[in-house]
Symmetry: C2
Subunit: 207 residues, 2 copies
DNA sequence: CACTTTCCGTACGGTACCGTATGGACCTCG
DNA sequence: CGAGGTCCATACGGTACCGTACGGAAAGTG
């Protein structure tokens, strides 16, 4: 795509001399990770972006308008990611399950984890955020279930293991595992095996 | 311990006509569950207790003093609970594990769950809260491990399953499971079996 | 070169909160 | 009954934030 020369000139000199909604939303996501939704405040973001809130109220109606943009941006990114991570790879389904677990249970992707947690904290007190998180979770559970099914796991057990998988990764991201004694890395590997690989029939009978 | 007659009289007539630190801390815990740590504000608690903040600053040095009290109160209660729940009952260890899972993964004890989540949100941004949560988690993991050991599970697997247990219950409490399709109750039961009962050897070799 | 649009700075009123100072009601005890 | 301690109300200054009004610089447009 072609850009106007004037635009190019501005972008070369100092990036974001002109802000747009996306830049504000990105700053909001950063702050969300660090301080939660109550921490994303207009004047604070303005200071972080080295502008005043005069800019903010040009791009957004009010704070709620920004928060709605944050929700949509996050939702789209998460759904796109989960679809990409679970795109059918014949024979590689188990490795894909392992990767899905690692995305949120290792110390890489720390910022993504913090946003995830802040999002759920937000969802606990705001119906709009709750609806978004619920939609993202539904996508994730569906996609993970497909992987298990492709591994030969029966339907109900595939649903159950998907649920355990996500409950575990979210839960473990809330525990400060580094502080515990024992070989955390090995424990996490074992748990990963337990969730993804050991396809023993579950106790409750399949009707 | 004996109480002054005058104190007794006051407590009989209308409870809490005189407030004490415990009453403020209890109100703080209630608000913590609903709005997180940023929501526990002096003047808001005062309104909830139908007094003014003049009372608050009599019992507490400042807001941080209250928050420290909240941390200590919560810590003591959680440690006392986990010890009680895992007190040795010969032959009943498996049932005890089931109960530990149910405490935080069923819709009963909703307030306890909300406080738990708010506590971890708090711990993510405050070192003092992080230390408390870490201490409580260490107790829980130790006690749960003892139960698994009593069930005949070998040491390392007992540690691993304890970790999975708590990561799962905390994680599932962050997901709005009621909104998902499928038989959630049965899925939770199956997961409980998977965590607590199926003592298949784990993949990684025991050295 | 006017003229408009885009984008941001400044200034303002209003709200919610923190912590302090001070006085007063009530009880207790000599 | 007076003196002192306990517990709370009131009033105040200060900070941080929201949203609005308005002005102005810079760039595009005819």
């Amino acid at each position: 795509m072609d850009l106007e020369p004037s635009i190019l000139r501005r972008m070369e000199k100092t990036p974001r001399l002109q802000l747009d909604r996306a830049a504000w939303i990105q700053a909001a996501l950063d702050t969300l990770a660090d301080e939660g939704v109550t921490g994303v405040r207009v004047e604070v973001l303005a200071k972080r972006l080295h502008v005043t809130k005069g800019s903010f109220y040009w791009h957004f109606k009010d704070r709620q308008d920004l928060l709605s943009g944050v929700l949509e941006t996050w939702k789209d990114g998460r759904i796109r990611d989960i679809i990409k991570q679970t795109r059918p790879e014949a024979g590689g389904e188990e490795a894909q399950i392992f990767r899905v677990i690692d995305v949120y249970s290792t110390s890489r992707n720390r910022k993504g984890i913090l946003i995830e947690l802040a999002m759920r904290e937000w969802a606990r007190r705001d119906p709009a955020a709750a609806a978004i998180v619920e939609e993202v979770d539904a996508w994730r559970l569906r996609c993970a279930r497909e992987l298990f099914l492709a591994c030969g796991v029966p339907m109900h057990e595939a649903s159950t293991r998907s649920m355990l998988l996500y409950a575990y990764v979210f839960g473990v991201s809330m525990m400060n595992c580094e502080k515990f004694d024992g070989d955390i890395t090995r424990m996490k590997d074992d748990i990963r095996e337990l969730i993804a690989r050991s396809h023993t029939p579950l106790a409750s009978p399949q009707p």
